[in-house]
């Protein structure tokens, strides 16, 4: 079987090569940390969770199945770790289950301070503005947007990681984009 770059590093790690595991961590630390920090919205917690993730990956590395992509397997572990943490500390984030929430409801809360669209546009790029809104949408939409665009995964891979049907993943991502567009329109970003 032809092994990809990650799988070669895993083989080396399992043979006791510490440098190989360090290389694997260096390769994924930025994407994993970006995902985690946007999920938990707290840098220190994100650092701890990212470290816990790599620690866990190392301890279960011998259970990795070479038939699957390492990244998908790793992201699933990361996703479960973060979701577990959020469920245990639900007060820190938006509700996980608010089905009928509107974009206005999401952003109107007092603890969210946002500048109006024009000021934001003057101060930051559209990208930063959009990602700022992404940080504030409910978790069930945010997690999928993060998996899709930060981890650069396909709908099928996201479905595998989150254990959701592909149709649900697509619908939620569409819904998230509708929310984001409405917010951009409201803030005059799309005039």
């Amino acid at each position: 079987m032809q092994l990809d770059e990650d799988q070669v590093l895993i083989k080396k790690t399992l043979r006791g090569d510490r440098k190989a595991f360090e290389e694997l961590m260096r390769k994924y630390e930025k994407k994993i940390f970006s995902f985690v920090v946007r999920m938990v919205r707290n840098e220190e917690t994100a650092v701890d969770l990212t470290q816990d993730f790599f620690f866990k990956i190392f301890t279960v590395l011998d259970k990795y199945n070479y038939e699957y992509k390492f990244s998908t397997w790793a992201y699933r572990i990361c996703y479960n770790l973060v979701i577990d943490h959020i469920r245990k500390n639900q007060t820190q984030v938006d509700s996980l289950d608010d089905e009928g929430v509107t974009s206005h409801d999401l952003l109107a809360s007092d603890n969210v301070s946002r500048e109006d669209g024009f000021k934001a546009l003057a101060r930051a790029e559209t990208r930063d503005y959009v990602w700022n809104i992404v940080d504030q949408i409910p978790l069930k939409f945010r997690e999928l947007i993060l998996l899709r665009y930060i981890q650069d995964l396909k709908y099928e891979e996201i479905a595998e990681i989150t254990a959701l049907p592909v149709g649900t993943v697509k619908n939620r991502i569409f819904k998230a984009k509708e929310i984001l567009k409405k917010e951009m329109e409201k803030d005059g970003m799309l005039v």
Binding site: R18, F21, E22, M25, R26, E29, K30, K31, F33, S34, V37, R38, A46, V47, T50, Q51, F54, F55, F58, T126, R127, D128, Y129, V130, W131, V134, I145, R148, Y149, I150, F174, K177, E178, L180, K181, M184, E185, L190
Partner: protein, 184 residues
């Protein structure tokens, strides 16, 4: 013709529509300014999402994981190994150097063996044979050293042993601590 749904426009931007459906959407966009505008908005959004600014993890992240995974265990085992080796080395050396052949302990043990049976006799015989072995080594080393060096070497040997052990301990215990202190 009715306007296109947001879902269709999003799918069109993502390139996930089939060829026929994509052609139908393109045709509609040519004729409908409202849908064209909405499609442009989604395109802008898609472009912003496709280029996320990744958060920079702190530099300590990976080193801390590595330290958590490897050196702690390694350090404990190396310290234990050094301590055990030092103990064995010092005890053997003291026995050899100070020559306990007239030691009442070993003599007493030898005498005890005669009247003892079973596992205790085995243990005593073991101890005395280790002692005899050490004596033999001592005699051999002593003879060799007397040939090589005319002066008494006991003090020099102790000094070298203590210096070597101190160096070994410093390298295994204090150096990583110094490194860690520098990092923090």
């Amino acid at each position: 013709m009715a306007c296109l749904s947001d879902e269709t426009l999003i799918a069109c931007n993502e390139g996930s529509l089939g060829a026929i459906e994509a052609a139908r959407v393109r045709d509609h966009l040519l004729l409908c300014p409202a849908c064209r505008e909405t499609a442009a908005h989604y395109r802008l959004l898609e472009r912003a999402l496709e280029r996320p600014q990744l958060a920079m993890p702190p530099a300590r992240l990976v080193p801390q994981v590595m330290e958590r995974l490897f050196p702690a265990a390694a350090r404990i085992t190396s310290i234990a190994a050094v301590a055990a080796a030092s103990f064995v080395f010092l005890v053997s050396w003291i026995y050899i150097y100070f020559d306990f052949s007239s030691s009442s302990l070993v003599q007493a043990l030898r005498l005890t063996t005669d009247g003892t049976t079973g596992w205790l006799a085995g243990i005593i015989q073991g101890i005395t044979s280790v002692y005899n072995g050490a004596q033999a080594v001592r005699k051999a080393l002593g003879a060799m050293l007397r040939i090589l060096f005319p002066a008494p070497l006991g003090v020099v040997a102790i000094a070298v042993a203590i210096l070597g052990l101190s160096l070994l301990l410093a390298l295994t215990v204090f150096r990583p601590r110094l490194k860690k202190a520098k990092r923090t």
